[in-house]
């Protein structure tokens, strides 16, 4: 009889400790989430691009206006800040973000995701320049666009020289979630 009482008490103790442990786990998870949310810094596009090289592969939130969404898949969108000439690409990534619906164009979003860097190497830029020159030689009416590309390449080279880099960095974001700012 005594053994039976001990057993019941043991089971009860285990149950209480399990519930307690579960609660403490939940509390700690929720605290961690809140902490993580608080740690993710929000930037405007201009602010982000200024410090982008220091935030590569980090989670950030960007507030910007949607100028374009991929019409067919919706898997990427382009956003812009105060300067309409600077645009930034956001790819739909993560387990919760399927894409950007086309009706979002014109809306201001707060997009959270991982900032990524893509480096254009010296070799890549050289090849690109050669291709542009070949196109220019064909005289098929694409001279205007070739001129724009050449100017682009020159500005990239200038940036590399001024900053003492052997690559040119472009940035985009693997978006994980977004909210429409109203």
């Amino acid at each position: 009889m005594k053994t039976k009482h001990y057993l019941i008490a043991l089971v009860a103790l285990l149950a209480v400790s399990c519930i307690g442990a579960g609660n403490s786990n939940q509390t700690s998870t929720s605290e961690a989430q809140q902490q993580t949310k608080a740690e993710i810094k929000t930037y405007s596009l201009e602010e982000l691009l200024e410090v982008a090289s220091t935030l590569v592969d980090e989670k950030v939130t960007i507030k910007a206006n949607v100028t374009h969404t991929c019409k067919h898949s919706g898997r990427r969108c382009f956003v812009t800040g105060d300067n309409p000439n600077v645009s930034f690409r956001v790819e739909a990534a993560g387990s919760r973000l399927g894409g950007f619906n086309r009706e979002l164009v014109g809306s201001e979003l707060a997009i959270t995701g991982i900032l990524r860097e893509k480096r254009l190497t010296q070799e890549y830029i050289d090849q690109w320049e050669e291709q542009v020159k070949e196109k220019e030689g064909k005289e098929d009416g694409s001279a205007e666009s070739c001129g724009a590309e050449t100017a682009n390449i020159q500005s990239i080279r200038k940036w590399m020289k001024d900053n003492g880099k052997d690559y040119y960095a472009t940035y985009y974001m693997d978006g994980e979630s977004y909210e429409v700012i109203e």
Binding site: G74, G98, N101, V105
Partner: protein, 418 residues
């Protein structure tokens, strides 16, 4: 005395039986006569030739010259392929005859496919009962493919998502959508919700809802969150019907029908919804059939009703009319039979509606002439009967024609009360 009462009861019962039999015959005879006399309605397919710049009719029952244009010129099968290249581009591609471009526009199969429109709508699509339960797909699925939802929603006085497995209301999801609807200015009760819960399509655009004030809202689920927007279209047109359509190039969401008989496409660009009117005459949703076959340059719109089939060609970009043509319906034996058969017929079904209820159809004045003749015959047949009986018979035949005449002939006479 008892026999007299019994005779009166018998005669009263006979009146009821005659009326009942006449009513049944008014329902039964017309479909039987129609089966014997009706010829199938055949109209040629219409298509606007971007080469000839005019409407053409295609009828493959003519093996030698399957195509003719609206001016009456006839064309053989090879000419049919090349003069309608945007309709027959697959066949031309197989023969290596598809042009690279037309009017300076690339005509690759991919481009042609993305600009093609095929749409049909019948009155029965408009007048059908609905269960009132809808499935809302995730419009931006993470894994790429559209998947059937595990819940359904109803939207009348409020929106409620119901889990199909447990049959319980998902309070959180319902509140999320309901609150956003109200925030966007939606007014319950909902008049209708139109969408296409089908995973065998390229993309999903959710539902279009008409609220109590006649305002059209767009509702869909994007990344598990509600997207709801007032399209503002109701400020321009009085919408009564909408049919969703998955345009391959995503130019428009679907077809809108207004109370004034206008047919529109609902274009969408950057979150702005614009109705664009198809330049055709007034369209009656309750009795007109419409079919649209569109290509990169022109849409051919065919409207069929009891008077025939009208063909319209409109430009793809602004939907303005460039050509029209009509093939009048030729009357068949049933048309004549129907006119003469009986003044009023009863029908429970209609070719333009899925609703089943008794409908009284008036068939015109010619049938009254036949009814009058039959009632004179009935007076002659009943000349030896009592005055009241003759008047009753005459009235029944005059009002119901053949149905009443047959009913009286097959049923026994009234009994004389001495």
């Amino acid at each position: 005395m008892g026999r007299k009462v019994s005779m009166r009861s018998y005669n009263k019962l006979l009146v009821v039986v005659i009326i009942f039999t006449t009513t049944v015959l008014m329902w039964v005879i017309p479909p039987f006569a129609k089966e014997l006399t009706k010829s199938p309605e055949k109209y040629p397919m219409g298509y606007f030739s971007s080469r000839l710049e005019r409407l053409c009719l295609v009828d493959f029952s003519d093996k030698e010259f399957p195509m003719r244009d609206k001016l009456g010129n006839k064309y053989n099968s090879d000419q049919y392929d090349t003069l309608l290249p945007l309709l027959n581009y697959r066949r031309l591609m197989g023969k290596g005859l598809l042009p690279d471009s037309m009017r300076g526009v690339e005509t690759s199969p991919r481009t042609l496919m993305s600009k093609s429109v095929v749409f049909t709508h019948k009155p029965i699509d408009f007048q059908s009962p609905h269960v009132g339960l809808y499935g809302l797909l995730e419009s931006m699925p993470v894994r790429g493919n559209l998947e059937m939802p595990t819940d359904l929603f109803r939207i009348k006085d409020r929106v409620e998502f119901i889990d199909a497995q447990s049959n319980s209301v998902d309070i959180e999801k319902s509140a999320k959508f309901g609150n956003l609807l109200l925030k966007r200015g939606y007014t319950f009760p909902t008049q209708w919700a139109k969408g296409d819960c089908n995973t065998r399509k390229a993309y999903d655009e959710g539902y279009f809802l008409l609220d109590a004030n006649g305002r059209l809202f767009h509702m869909k689920m994007v990344n598990s969150q509600p997207y709801i927007k007032d399209t503002q279209v109701s400020e321009e047109i009085d919408i009564i019907h909408y049919v969703p359509y998955n345009a391959p190039d995503k130019r428009f969401y679907g077809f809108l029908f207004s109370s004034g008989g206008g047919v529109y496409i609902l274009e969408g660009d950057a979150g702005i919804y614009t109705p664009r009117k198809i330049d055709i005459p007034e369209f009656d949703l309750t009795c007109d059939n419409i079919s649209i076959m569109g290509n990169i340059f022109y849409w051919t719109v065919s409207v069929t009703n009891d008077s025939g089939r009208a063909y319209y060609a409109v430009k793809t970009d602004d939907l303005s009319k460039v050509d029209s043509f009509k093939v009048e319906r030729t009357a068949d034996l049933w048309d004549m039979t129907q006119e003469w058969l009986m003044p009023i017929t009863i029908s429970f079904q209609s070719k333009s509606s899925d609703y089943i209820y008794p409908r009284l159809l008036f068939n015109g004045c010619k049938s009254l002439i036949l009814s009058l003749l039959l009632s004179l015959v009935m007076i002659y047949i009943s000349r030896k009967r009592g005055v009241r009986e003759v008047i009753f018979r005459m009235f029944i035949v005059l009002a119901t024609g053949v149905a009443g005449f047959i009913a009286i002939l097959i049923l026994p006479n009234f009994r004389k009360i001495n």
